[in-house]
Symmetry: C2
């Protein structure tokens, strides 16, 4: 069965690079013990950039998350972001907000810009206060450089940086979109995911960056799950500084808008997949495509229920084609399901045929399950809508990492 | 802090015994390979009993679950139940219903009663057909005895039978309520849990058994979670055969009704706790009590979110007082939460004090976490309602069991 997702690309994926006008840096200042782990970083645009953000829906929203949201909402402009790992500055009361604002001010002063133009992001253990002496020291060591060390500086239990750059041509001008993020655990975004940053030199028409981000986040970051837990520090921030000097991109201008949206979607999709694939303890990326659903929302819900099922995840880790768990996960949702004509494929092999076992060869299926990427395709036979979600398997290492996280 | 749950008991817990007029049996017939594992069983009442049931909300409801629901709904009477383990007879199409009905008829014939008085329950792998030759052989071996082997015969990955009996006096007559169930995995009931059976010799006023069961299930079985997955075969069935010859119990008769409800609630609560405590791979029972919530629904939601969090569960397995995860789980819900004045205790030790770390001694807390039962108490400071939920820790063994379930 052919995936419904293959289309002609109008963008090019290129090695990670900063779009025009962006500088960054990352340092190790001692927030984490391992001297090889960068633990503070920042990002800077030569001119103020249009900014948009999506933030966790967890009621215990962390101080840096609140502060960044407030800062962006003032005038939808940012010129810099400063980030740290190891300490989330979450559930830290008034002191938390004082510390977040101090971190914002320190970075702004060093960048030589107004504090109102700087966002702050923290990730790590909840409930501990930021060690402000180290934060101050870290900011003093950061420089405006061309390196990509900030993509390392935001990681926690991630095993590698997650980055991507895409480029398009708009009326003869090259526009670059670059994204990086961290993920790994407490990943079940309802608004955004842990920390994600997407920067572009595109010029975007006023007021159109936020709806574009929100729409794409719903299709990408909000469709991944590692463990069903929504973080207090979730945040995706996007900056567009206009330095590509392209004709301004607007929803009223169909072709360029679509081209940009495709390239932008590719960045968010890649980052979302990276987070799922590098979920804590993960050995396999699981992608679920749902088709012939009654509505897009139904398709998204079913896809997410499957990648979110501990039992499905453990079976995939065990390379066991236990399709009853996929069916049980589908049936747990309130999506419209044709319960007598639901079919499932695993890596293109028929697994369930019209709600009956598809008489598959267990040996062939077992072999397919050794792949590093497992694709599940579900046909709900209830309409024409499609949806997608990503997750990972549930492994001994997930338990180990989370049984010993603070030690 | 004193638990809000301590009250004077009006019932007595006694060693497991069948109420008046009930017979049962369990055999090994070969559905499971291990000859020491009973795999078929039944239950019989000398006279038709009032019957009520609650069933899975999973859209892929298994054939035996559908059949039992239909049978009970006809006239709310049952005289027998026949059960098997190893094969769930779920997602088995028309053949599944034919097999379930045949199993019902075989048992009814052997019991010498009408098939319309027999319920059927199956549990095990989804998607496989019942081996009817073995089912037939099993029924031929079952007898009407006083043993409790049926409580073993329904188990899958459970490590031990889950049983309880309570007794009360109603106007000089002894009334017995006995329950048994299986649980272990795919436990996140939205209606009932895997398989639970509660039988009593009480006489209950017409039409009052079903509302009593439904109400108690909401407070007990529906408040446990092992892994967030809702089974296709969930069912709780209760029988009341009236053979205790007590004054009929009715909601209009306050004292006796309350006494019976307390004893009935004790049975369901114990079974629910047993399932949580014996969740797949579990090493610890986790009980969460929520108080000062705006509504009972809020309290139940918050309690279940905490016991349902993989991260909280893994931290408890690791005996790590990572309270940020408890706070994050609370904040994920839409319950009314006073985010600046939420407090948490672990085994009576202050952990979070008004949304700040309670300055606890890590060594003392670590010691408390070595207990086999972990009690989390949450004060939401938002009202006066309370709620409870039960779960277990997330361990390497959960992953092992579920990576290899079909092998």
């Amino acid at each position: 069965m052919q995936s419904f997702l293959e289309e002609t690309k109008t963008y090019q994926e290129v090695p990670f690079t900063w779009p025009k006008g962006y500088k960054a840096d990352g340092v190790h200042v001692g927030l984490r013990k391992n001297p090889n782990k960068k633990d503070m970083g920042w990002l800077y645009s030569e001119v103020p950039a249009q900014a948009a953000g999506t933030y966790t829906t967890n009621q215990f929203q962390a101080a840096p998350t609140k502060l960044t949201k407030q800062t962006i909402n003032q005038d939808h402009l940012l010129q810099g972001m400063v980030m740290n790992t190891a300490v989330a500055n979450s559930v830290t009361g008034e002191q938390g907000m004082i510390d977040a604002k101090k971190m914002q001010k320190l970075a702004a002063d060093k960048m030589g810009i107004d504090a109102n133009l700087v966002g702050v992001a923290s990730t790590g253990v909840i409930g501990e206060n930021l060690p402000m002496d180290l934060i101050q020291k870290g900011v003093s060591q950061l420089e405006l450089l061309d390196n990509d060390l900030v993509t390392e500086a935001i990681l926690t239990t991630d095993t590698h940086p997650k980055t991507i750059s895409t480029q398009i041509e708009i009326d003869g001008k090259t526009v670059t979109i670059s994204g990086f993020c961290k993920g790994s655990g407490m990943i079940h975004p309802k608004m955004a995911t842990m920390l994600g940053f997407v920067v572009t030199d595109a010029k975007i028409a006023d007021g159109q960056l936020q709806p574009m981000l929100s729409q794409q986040v719903d299709k990408t970051f909000n469709q991944i799950t590692v463990d069903g837990d929504t973080s207090t520090n979730d945040m995706v921030v996007t900056l567009a500084n206009g330095m590509a000097d392209n004709t301004s991109i607007s929803i009223d201008d169909g072709d360029n808008f679509e081209k940009f949206t495709d390239a932008y979607n590719a960045v968010l999709t890649k980052l979302a997949q990276d987070i799922a694939e590098d979920g804590e303890g993960s050995t396999k990326l699981v992608e679920v495509n749902v088709e012939n659903a009654a509505t897009h929302a139904d398709a998204q819900k079913v896809a997410k229920a499957i990648v979110g099922s501990n039992l499905v995840k453990a079976a995939i880790f065990g390379e066991d084609a236990n399709w009853g768990r996929i069916i049980a996960a589908i049936g747990q949702t309130d999506a419209v399901v044709d319960i007598d004509h639901t079919s499932v494929w695993l890596n293109d092999l028929p697994l369930v045929d019209n709600s009956h076992s598809a008489d598959f060869d267990e040996t062939v299926m077992k072999e397919a399950l050794t792949d590093k990427k497992i694709t599940v395709l579900v046909d709900l036979n209830s309409g024409t809508a499609t949806g997608q979600a990503w997750g990972c398997d549930l492994t001994y290492n997930y338990v180990r990492i989370n049984a010993t996280y603070r030690s």
